[in-house]
Symmetry: D3
Subunit: 283 residues, 6 copies
Amino acid sequence: MSIEGYTNFKWFLVTSPAEYVAHVQTNRPAKFNAYHEPMWLELNQIFNKLSVDSNVRAVVFSGAGDKAFTTGLDVQAASQGGILGGGENKLDIARQSVQIRRHVEEFQNCITSLEKCEKPVIAAMHGYAFGLAIDLSCCADIRIASKDTKFSVKEVDIGLAADIGTLARLPKIVGNHSWVKEVTLTARIFTAEEARQVGFVSHVEENKEKAVAKAVALATLIASKSPIAVQGTKELLNHARENTTAATLRYTGVWNSAALHTDDVKAALLSGIKKTKPTFSKL
Amino acid sequence: MSIEGYTNFKWFLVTSPAEYVAHVQTNRPAKFNAYHEPMWLELNQIFNKLSVDSNVRAVVFSGAGDKAFTTGLDVQAASQGGILGGGENKLDIARQSVQIRRHVEEFQNCITSLEKCEKPVIAAMHGYAFGLAIDLSCCADIRIASKDTKFSVKEVDIGLAADIGTLARLPKIVGNHSWVKEVTLTARIFTAEEARQVGFVSHVEENKEKAVAKAVALATLIASKSPIAVQGTKELLNHARENTTAATLRYTGVWNSAALHTDDVKAALLSGIKKTKPTFSKL
Amino acid sequence: MSIEGYTNFKWFLVTSPAEYVAHVQTNRPAKFNAYHEPMWLELNQIFNKLSVDSNVRAVVFSGAGDKAFTTGLDVQAASQGGILGGGENKLDIARQSVQIRRHVEEFQNCITSLEKCEKPVIAAMHGYAFGLAIDLSCCADIRIASKDTKFSVKEVDIGLAADIGTLARLPKIVGNHSWVKEVTLTARIFTAEEARQVGFVSHVEENKEKAVAKAVALATLIASKSPIAVQGTKELLNHARENTTAATLRYTGVWNSAALHTDDVKAALLSGIKKTKPTFSKL
Amino acid sequence: MSIEGYTNFKWFLVTSPAEYVAHVQTNRPAKFNAYHEPMWLELNQIFNKLSVDSNVRAVVFSGAGDKAFTTGLDVQAASQGGILGGGENKLDIARQSVQIRRHVEEFQNCITSLEKCEKPVIAAMHGYAFGLAIDLSCCADIRIASKDTKFSVKEVDIGLAADIGTLARLPKIVGNHSWVKEVTLTARIFTAEEARQVGFVSHVEENKEKAVAKAVALATLIASKSPIAVQGTKELLNHARENTTAATLRYTGVWNSAALHTDDVKAALLSGIKKTKPTFSKL
Amino acid sequence: MSIEGYTNFKWFLVTSPAEYVAHVQTNRPAKFNAYHEPMWLELNQIFNKLSVDSNVRAVVFSGAGDKAFTTGLDVQAASQGGILGGGENKLDIARQSVQIRRHVEEFQNCITSLEKCEKPVIAAMHGYAFGLAIDLSCCADIRIASKDTKFSVKEVDIGLAADIGTLARLPKIVGNHSWVKEVTLTARIFTAEEARQVGFVSHVEENKEKAVAKAVALATLIASKSPIAVQGTKELLNHARENTTAATLRYTGVWNSAALHTDDVKAALLSGIKKTKPTFSKL
Amino acid sequence: MSIEGYTNFKWFLVTSPAEYVAHVQTNRPAKFNAYHEPMWLELNQIFNKLSVDSNVRAVVFSGAGDKAFTTGLDVQAASQGGILGGGENKLDIARQSVQIRRHVEEFQNCITSLEKCEKPVIAAMHGYAFGLAIDLSCCADIRIASKDTKFSVKEVDIGLAADIGTLARLPKIVGNHSWVKEVTLTARIFTAEEARQVGFVSHVEENKEKAVAKAVALATLIASKSPIAVQGTKELLNHARENTTAATLRYTGVWNSAALHTDDVKAALLSGIKKTKPTFSKL
């Protein structure tokens, strides 16, 4: 059952499997969790809300049902009036291009909400993880897969270059560009084990349940730490990915000049001495 | 036999092992495919031509003969009048430095033509792959090796820092900097298997024939996809490597605002429904 | 025994295990080599000196004693008057923040001296390698570990985001961001073997002695090469990590327009022909 | 009277002085158009709407009343519960800092909506133009002032560094850093004429009416041009300010590969030949 | 009469008004020096040649005839088969877009040859200086105008955003963005005096002859200096425009580590003492 | 007389003309304040000290004597053993180049200390201001000149490209690149009035005394403001010069999340209401 404040969402189930942990599930299993526009708009709302929700310190993201994390874009919906729609548009090509660009940017912004969420996001994937599945999970901080996951950067197979983030992020988070190029240019399926070997996921579990359990365990562990420390760590790592080392060092000094005024340091040190579990106030 | 339009090249053999696939071989096997200046000038011409040749959708790059992908710079040639030549140059050191810089830049530009080629390039390596072999293969999109390949970033052994691209690209395409530093600072030989483990190559095959066959198979698969999708994918991945995520997302939106006007999407979707092989018009 | 010119340092032992090789050991084994402020100030002095010492061509960095490379910040010292001290500071929060920022920046600069050292630095780690251990080793060029090494990006456990360089550098030197996020957000211990698999270290040795011996062997090998070539290689790889490929290619051309005027090329080529060991003059 | 679709806004008056031109006025003259939070939230909505409103091709932005473009932040409101509020906050300093950062970022985002608006924005300023007035007008594309304008980067006078955009943008849009530093560090008032001489505004008019009239005339002229050409020009200039020349040239090529498919080129060329005024369809 | 080696060019006149000075004139006065494709291809050849011609140390660039520096793109030619051509292209829109992008990039590269020329380029402008005139002169190092020059960033008037460099470079070389936006968004004509006031040109002369004479005098002065010093200065200033201060300082140190080995320093110092005119050897 | 703590400096006079204001004078008037190595090393020490001296909130920088701000590098000293020395160096050219690079970098770092100084620096210039005078004053925040100042970017006249910062900074702080290129490529003298018109200096005063007095007055005004606000303003403006707008906005939010915890805001607001002069505690 969705937790309070998150019950109005139609396409996602938001539960709390542990203290300070939220679990967001794409909830359209009958369609293999394929996405159409109302879904990414809703996703954006959810993650913006989680980002500043002081009851949440870590988020697990998965897909409902046995079959799929998500098979990606609902191509049928996209072909009817959507981005791949065509139809008798009376605008000239340049004007249609402006509409496409605006549409792609809005879509990108919605997916980017996972990355912008101030709390760590752990993707737990299973079954089909095609197309948008990769865009989405590239925005997560940590990726876990069940053994049966079938990944594919599927976009070239429908005649387009992936434009919702995979091509922008994958080369920055996986340090094996020969492999990155291969799977994006061929759209071939790759397994969870292959994903682990090249560093796309950091754990492979026996089945979906165990993958989600592992994600929840990691989230619970993270949620037990100082939220000041955890959220600063996420922010600074993301900054490092996009900036020079010198710029990140400088940013880090400024960041911590505020963050070190936290009571969490004292609480953490004390509990370290006393061998107790520290309690950190809300953030 | 070289395909039409590519028969005039002296140092390279350009064939077509499959529809829309070109195979470029460095063809100086008697000298272990070592490079001297006329060769990189010719290489530049070939890849500039392939880049806009609408009969080509993917390129395999290998070395002729049993012995070597290439042993790198032909040091003997380079010592006689070339960049390492010395000789009685009457210019002052600063003026000689200008000449060296211009020479290095021209050399770099020629090798960069593999990276700039709009079509994916797959390097299939075997035997000796020393020095320039690494510069060249770092410009390829996908790297495949036969089991017998002996790699070495050889340059420190001849008293210089590699300047034709290895040091600029290797840290960006292999995410194990401890290893990158080790092999570039020591010039030690590493095997195909080691290259695979660290993510420099994505496949190791039994022998040269199988490595080339694997490369041709991958190229053929890529060539069967929409060229609009494939070439956009290469471009956007290369953009991502050099820019921030936000900049690449923006660039992607603009790129696809033009590219989504392709008939390939409809063709791909239709053939997906009909379970037929789509046909894409030339690009 | 510390080598000449390096005997005045209190917290570090600097020896020369081989020609042109320096070995720097953090020398506070009774405290698990934990760091307090006088130590990082001294470290800075040592590496600035090594950087321009013509008798040194490669540096090994390790920790004295059986227990630890270093357990990181000496938290007790830091809590007494140091950065985590608190105490009755009469300045307003903004002014305290300025002091914190200056302190963090000075600390960062000291650790960065390993990275700025013009000579390659090889970290040989063993036992506990917590917190600052990761900041320090991220500044080394090559990382080697003994089998017993217990690594942890420990900072979140004391309520803060790591601010001396780990978060700035780790995502740039390890191409598996799912793992990077996991270990930095959870502070969990990871083993030498795990470190090797994800590419944080490039060798795991049986025990501390063998790890140091391996580091010394690598350093000796590097020290036998042209120092012009070796130091240029370090510089250009570090440049590549922070700049676009095009910028590094340009920088490389300018760099080598000076560096190719070295006698080392001739020496290296001759000794290659004569099968002798080349001698390179001091740098 | 506010034009259709813009009548629900409380703090701004949105009119249409000419075809395809919108005029947005900060409408709190009794308070010298000082801003409090509901105002910048509303401003954000308005400019996001204008950005995609096909009836609008250029926007004029000014302040209602005789006295002021705006005196900036409503300090009284800000001191009561707002960002400068203080009050008995029970959070620790680090947690308060997170709240401040989120608040500043939201505030910045609202003001940035002028810059992100796809249509050119012309600020027409008069009377007091203090603090936020500079942040706002730096986001406009063109700045015009009446002779009586009294500008001040006022923030240091209330004990803080300007954080809503002035310090980020002013050094990028005015090429006289000695002057930029002087006015930002001293908070001294500068006149419209001085602003013109250093290049902060491009026109000074006799009084407010003439300043607004000039702005409307410029907006009308811009609105008479191809919207594809105009909006592309704004986008590419803003891109140039933030990127290298090479990156902008590349982006421009991709941008125009879509934009040149417009019917506007033909319309413009024809009307050039026929000496008629071209008509461009909506965008 | 064109100087030796430059006589084969059809659309440009290349003379030598002073020792080490070349004067390149667009030579199509009957058409107001409007550009079509063969012209920019030729321009590229000329500037690539001047860049490495040791007889040339500074270049003046102007337009032949009384009427115009250049009125820009020859729109008629461009409409017939060229980039604005339209016609019955059978390719789908995406494929046409690829052709447009390639075309724009080739055009940009040709114009960029002025910027890449290692020798300083001084544009002397007169009469009509529309469209491409601005792209071209933005690539020059120094801009001089005769009083009668009528400038216009004309592109929006033909329905497109300027794509050959004006929008990429103008905001980087003129520090008055309010003005830059105004003239690019309105396409209004501006005078030489206005251009001087905003810093687009650095001198206004009475008429074309005097403008060219001024340019030749400046070029002659520059050509009398050490070419090592002059060409280094151009390179480092262009680097500064595109990079951070820290990066340029580093690049400068490396650049001068080669350049300071010149005999020119001694020659310059000696002639300074002896009050004679130094002679510098060719570069 | 030098103020306490600054009396040991040999080449500079450091006085305090007003509360919280330091005045640093290059004090070698007999040699036109020309610089040799001990001077820039001392300068570095002074500005590093001023940067964290809580008794100082603004700094004036000028040259002692009637004749010169500084004529730049003491060429005679530089020719004897210094960077321009030549002499019988037994190292090969590449090794000499390393020494030159290290020397240039150390020199650059010393001059950069003005820019890094956390307190605003105002350069008051008079008489000769050649070569290093420009490097130095480009590091100041505000530049003021007496009418008699004769500026020259003199370096090309001694056969080298300016390498201590002028070429890196001038294009970033003066938005008239045609002029920047002209004065750097020709080394021609320009006047204070010309400097003011192009935006290199922001005030021209009748004579040296008035220039210094103006600088002291500005410094005194700045020193009367909140040091938290002032130092934040300097930092954020310098950040803006080197980073994208988005990056600076983000950095600003983090910066002020610490800085807004200052008592200065309350003090400033109160004194604004009470019309009194606020007092700010030390920083």
